[in-house]
């Protein structure tokens, strides 16, 4: 084949490719096709492998590798006593919070539901350039794109792409990740930005005179409308006063260890906001009885 023919062949292919790429960028049709077929098949292929891996690891941990079980038992027993005492204290605090909310006529935060999901894999394939994990839930099972993902330790990220039963989650550490946060103690707001693999997170737009302590926990502010308010996200590592900028330089470390993620929680937004629940407060013991039925929609719905 002569060079002229090669060029004549390449030019229409290039135009065809650019047209296809632009059309997909506008409509997302091919992305959806890949999510519904490729991602779904990959999830189906990975599940048996993960199942076999779990069986082997469980057998090893439960029946062979029993070194230190006694020490673990004693430590956990002591920890359980401490936790039980803390739990009793928190129950009292919670009851007090409900009473104060009623007094102030504040609506409680939306009652987000958590759905458990298993991690199938980390980044996959040559095009898996973002820091992501693959989970065994898709848009049929509560993992629509944008769904917040967390563990009991803190925020993991958000669902980036999803097929019917498999989804990719963009991790907090990816440089494209943004979460609106507020510090737990000083109530200083900022935007948490991922720093890429191996780098700390950065908290941007912290005003120069705002108070923020090293070691302070950052929680979701809920202002971005993407995450429920109050989920722990990261711990402040360093706070640097600015030279010329109007904002402080703040670095933070995520609370979740992304290398050892096995299960995550998908935070499900409630279908509608409910009005302030008029839970009766028992004067005798000070505990509020939860109201199980939502208030009528005409009274309950609040503007979003």
């Amino acid at each position: 084949m002569t060079p002229k023919r090669v060029i004549l062949l390449l030019v229409p292919i290039l135009f065809l490719y650019l047209g296809l790429y632009s059309w997909n960028q506008r409509t997302g049709t091919l992305d959806r096709l890949a999510d519904n077929t490729g991602l779904e098949v990959v999830g189906a292929v990975l599940r048996p492998a993960l199942w076999a891996h779990d069986r082997v690891v469980t057998f090893w941990d439960h029946y062979i590798n029993l070194v230190g079980v006694r020490e673990d038992h004693d430590r956990l027993k002591a920890q359980l006593e401490v936790t039980s005492r803390q739990l009793a204290q928190y129950a009292e605090d919670r009851a007090e919070l409900s009473r104060l909310r009623q007094l102030l006529t504040l609506a409680p935060p939306d009652d987000w539901q958590a759905v458990g999901a298993r991690v199938l894999a980390s980044r996959l394939g040559p095009q898996g350039v973002l820091d992501t994990i693959t989970i065994d839930h898709g848009y049929f099972t509560g993992a629509a794109p944008g769904t917040p993902v967390a563990t009991h330790l803190g925020v993991v990220g958000r669902v980036l792409r999803s097929g019917p039963h498999t989804a990719s989650v963009l991790l907090l550490v990816d440089s494209g990740s943004r979460v609106s946060v507020i510090s737990h103690d000083n109530r200083t707001q900022g935007v948490l930005v991922g720093g890429g693999p191996g780098n700390p997170l950065e908290v941007r737009y912290v005003a120069v005179n705002a108070k923020l302590d090293e070691g302070e926990i950052l929680v979701t502010s809920g202002l971005d409308g993407a995450f429920p308010k109050g989920l722990p996200v990261a711990r402040v590592i360093t706070v640097t006063p600015p030279d010329l900028s109007m904002f402080q330089g703040v670095l933070a470390a995520p609370l979740v260890d992304f290398e050892s993620l096995e299960e995550v929680l998908l935070m499900q937004r409630p279908p509608a906001r409910y009005a302030l629940q008029q839970a009766p407060v028992h004067a005798s013991n000070g505990t509020a009885q939860p109201q199980t039925q939502p208030a009528p929609a005409t009274q309950a719905r609040k503007p979003r």
Partner: protein
């Protein structure tokens, strides 16, 4: 396609996906494309190429299109190399894999730039080198297994 051949390809795809689970950022399925090109059967490419494109695009995180360039470059480099080498020559596969490592870096960087994404270039460089080193031995092992399991699969 014989039942043994179909079973081999299905097993290859499943094992390839599992290998990608163990080696993030690496394309194990490109080995199948190289073997299919070496065997020179167009009908096989007609189902294999869309299958691995959909699999890679589904598990990837970039917008649809980068895999088309990646496998398009693989096919183009293969046919260019055919002018100079025997397709089953190890040197040919070694040079092809070195070029593919470079192509992996360039395509990922270019497509991420198009989508305003910041990529950790050091990590991308490591993965590109690993991709180049991964292909020759894996190709050799897959080809040996294929010859034993599907003896009637002849190369060009």
């Amino acid at each position: 396609m014989s039942p043994r051949d179909a079973l081999w390809w299905m097993t290859f795809l499943v094992v390839g996906i599992w290998m990608q689970l163990l080696l993030p950022g690496i394309d194990a399925l490109v080995i199948g494309l190289i073997i299919a090109l070496q065997e020179g059967r167009l009908t096989r490419l007609l189902w294999l190429l869309p299958t691995i494109i959909l699999l890679q695009e589904g598990m990837g995180t970039l917008a649809f299109g980068s895999t088309l360039l990646w496998y398009g470059a693989t096919i183009a480099l293969f046919y260019m190399g055919r002018w100079l080498f025997e397709v089953e020559n190890f040197v040919f596969v070694f040079l092809l894999s070195a070029c593919l490592g470079l192509v992996h870096y360039l395509i990922s960087d270019m497509m991420a730039s198009l989508q305003n994404l910041e990529l950790p270039l050091r990590q991308l460089m490591d993965e590109s080198i690993l991709q180049a080193l991964f292909i020759p031995p894996t190709w050799r092992a897959a080809l040996e297994l294929r010859r034993r399991f599907v003896p009637d699969a002849h190369p060009l």
